[in-house]
């Protein structure tokens, strides 16, 4: 606190008192990060579809006009316009999309553009300064540059979220920070570290399944790199196809088998109590008993019978799954070798 007060006070006064041509010599890490990277941010505009916002943010990742943004419905529109930092307005086309990560790669026809190089998100730690840029609420009109917000890295976790009451498929790693970016137009903007290096992309507006509050998060750069380095297979017409999770399931032949019957009361999905364990089944061998309450499997919380069924389908025969159970007043952990049926 005192260091902050000291530095701010001293520098503020220095800036005011010092004569000469440098009136804004006060330290400004955000400003420096912007000087290095702000030129690569683009404002995107497209058609509005229902509740979807017809505008967003993106950033250039190559000098020849490759733009990374989030997969909002604006990307599905025919006329996507990209407004570059220098004020040029260019038509953009969709090169490739990723339904699971909710990413899109666009292209504008231009040369020698300023662009961001993706840095590993592992380079920043909890408490480090992060800076997000975006076209929030279309506040930046015409040639005006996008808005800037700063915060600190708050948490690394895996996303478990809903969007407009629907499920949100992406359950991979995200960077949570304490700056508000869950506003229209901000998704697709870059998340920068204190030196202006891109470590992630601001995600779409979602509500956390845990808290039911809006999350302020970014997809880490590793996920963006993975998307950019993937083979260009999917195109815009295939996007409505089955998601990766369900297609995996179709490929698998044998169904996973544990040997537990979950109790059900009437219409209600109550907590996942074990009603019966089939003798000789993987569950019986692992030591699961009737009346155990399943708390979680492989770290995923099991709230009711439906959750259990969903999770069971994601397991594959031969795999070991970690069950956390409540038995009487105790919490126990058992590893179950998933069988096949």
């Amino acid at each position: 606190m005192f260091l902050a007060r000291l530095i701010v006070t001293c520098c503020g006064l220095l800036a005011i008192g010092a004569p000469g041509p440098r009136p804004s010599a006060a330290p400004n890490t955000v400003g420096r990060a912007l000087q290095r990277s702000g030129g690569a941010v683009v404002k995107l505009y497209g058609g509005r579809i229902g509740r979807e916002h017809g505008y967003g943010t993106g950033f250039l990742v190559s000098p020849d006009g490759g733009i990374v943004t989030s997969l909002s419905l604006l990307v599905a529109g025919r006329n996507i316009r990209a407004v570059l930092d220098d004020g040029r307005e260019l038509d953009a086309r969709v090169v490739r999309t990723d339904e699971y990560r909710q990413l899109a790669l666009l292209k504008v026809d231009a040369k020698d553009l300023p662009h961001l190089e993706l840095m590993s998100s592992e380079t920043i730690r909890i408490g480090d300064t992060v800076i997000a840029l975006g076209n929030w609420f279309k506040i930046a009109e015409g040639r005006e540059p996008v808005s800037v917000i700063r915060g600190i890295l708050s948490l690394r976790t895996n996303l478990d979220a809903r969007r407009l009451s629907q499920g949100f498929d992406y359950r991979g790693p995200v960077l949570i920070y304490d700056a508000i970016t869950s506003n229209p137009g901000s998704s697709g903007g870059p998340l920068l570290d204190v030196e202006g290096r891109c470590i992630g992309m601001v995600g779409r507006i979602v509500e956390s399944a845990n808290t039911n509050t809006r999350l302020n998060y970014a997809l880490p750069s590793e996920e963006i790199m993975a998307f950019l380095s993937e083979e260009a297979t999917a195109n815009i017409d295939e996007r409505a196809g089955p998601t990766s999770a369900s297609s995996e399931q179709e490929q698998g032949g044998a169904q996973p088998y544990v040997g537990i019957k979950i109790s059900r009361l009437g219409y209600h999905n109550v907590s996942a109590y074990v009603q019966r364990v089939r003798p000789g089944s993987p569950a019986a061998e692992a030591g699961i008993q009737a009346d155990d309450l399943i708390i979680s499997i492989n770290g995923r919380r099991i709230h009711d019978a439906a959750d259990y069924k969903d999770l069971l389908e994601s397991l594959s025969p031969g795999q070991s799954a970690r069950f956390v159970l409540k038995r009487g007043p105790k919490v126990i952990t058992l590893d179950v070798q998933i069988g096949a049926q």
């Binding site: 606190m1 006070t9 420096r32 408490g127 948490l155 478990d160 039911n212």
Partner: protein, 383 residues
């Protein structure tokens, strides 16, 4: 270029008392003003060491408090509904998430303080996961519906209880950090802000602009040394047990002071439900126009007037009557109607209060024991 972790600036002056430190800052600032016209003032300060040092301070504070922050998971219970079967503006505006939530170890023998917000579903089973990943089934002891606190007990010993900041040390503007386990992950999440105000919500809470939400209700607000300033709760608005959650991440968050926790701690340990206490009256503001001229000229008669007294209530037993004026509560002048309601807002049922009453030309004090609204019944609900 100094990157995070490369350099760590120590803070030698933090050993000095606050006053000295502040004075030192002022002197330095003054010196800067006088010396700024000289040639040495031109170099801009390199901000990176400051950024790196601040990040390191946050991590150090988090490392200190981390072992005392627990994750709470609940099983069973339903979404609370404000007005079952009715939609519209009166329906619950906030849906409770599926957890987990956050708690803070307060004693080495297994007492865990958290927010009552985390139990609005009335769960059948509560589980606590310590920072070292040990899991326990917890018992819910008491709840404080006024300060939105709840106390849990797990059968464990040797738990790391945190260090608390003395309430008198707190200063508006100092850094404050909120911590929570509500988003899962292997560590607590952090949000950086400052102390925005002291003694909010009738003196119960400190206000911060760090992010406060279901992500960290029940978790600690800490200073940069990792000491606990207070326990985070939704504390805006009154009534509904979800009230205040709508203010999440707004820059207006609250944490309950240590001395306010101490005030109710024994009752929470004993398993009591601490609810707002009622007198059993309907109050109305004094209308000066109805007062006789002579009385209007006399000062110090301003107050609120009792409009109705509920039968079989603390007020009726104290023989308060319609038309009585309440001048003071526990010796403190009550002022106008909003002021007395504010003063009463954190008085719990079971606590005693003394009212100074003016009835015509007579003044007297009555002491009464507050009761819950449900004990008193219908007349008070209209209030």
């Amino acid at each position: 270029m100094a990157r995070s972790g490369a350099t760590f600036v120590t803070f030698p002056w933090r050993r000095f008392p606050t006053g000295v430190c502040f004075r030192a800052t002022c002197v330095l600032a003054a010196l800067t003003v006088f010396s700024s016209s000289s040639a040495q003032a031109a170099d801009p300060v390199d901000p990176y060491p400051f950024e790196a040092a601040r990040a390191q301070v946050i991590r150090t504070a988090l490392a200190r408090i981390g072992p005392s922050i627990v994750m709470i998971e609940t099983v069973g219970g339903e979404q609370p509904l404000a007005e079952a079967g009715r939609g519209g503006p009166r329906a619950a505006a906030f849906r409770v998430g599926e957890g987990p939530t956050t708690g803070l170890v307060v004693s080495s023998d297994g007492l865990i303080l958290t927010s009552s917000f985390n139990f609005v579903r009335s769960p059948t089973i509560i589980m606590v996961t310590l920072a070292d990943d040990r899991r326990f089934v917890a018992r819910l002891l008491g709840r404080d519906y006024i300060r939105r606190l709840a106390l849990l007990k797990i059968d464990a010993s040797g738990l790391p209880a945190p260090t608390w900041v003395e309430d008198g040390e707190l200063r508006i503007g100092q850094y404050a950090i909120t911590c929570g386990r509500g988003l899962g992950g292997s560590t607590a999440s952090v949000s950086l802000g400052i102390i925005s105000a002291l003694n909010r919500r009738n003196g119960n809470a400190v206000q911060t602009d760090a992010k406060v939400s279901p992500v960290n209700y029940g978790g600690p607000l800490i200073d940069i040394e990792g000491r606990v300033i207070g326990v985070l709760v939704p504390m805006a608005g009154a009534g509904d047990e979800l009230a205040g959650a709508q203010w999440y991440d707004s820059g207006i968050g609250f944490a309950i002071y240590k001395h306010k926790i101490d005030f109710v701690f024994d009752r929470l340990v004993a398993g009591e439900a601490i609810e707002q206490g009622k007198i059993g009256v309907i109050l109305e503001p004094d209308e000066p126009s109805e007062i006789p001229l002579l009385e209007k000229l006399l000062p110090t008669t301003r107050g609120v007037r009792i409009k109705a007294v509920a039968e079989n209530s603390p007020a009726s037993r104290a023989e308060l009557r319609k038309g009585d004026k309440i001048l003071a509560l526990d010796g403190q002048p009550t002022g106008d109607l909003p002021e007395i309601l504010r003063q009463l807002s954190d008085r719990a049922a079971g606590e005693e209060i003394t009212l100074s009453i003016k009835r015509r030309w007579r003044r007297f004090d009555v002491t009464l024991r507050l009761e819950t609204a449900s004990e008193i019944g219908k007349a008070v609900e209209k209030e």
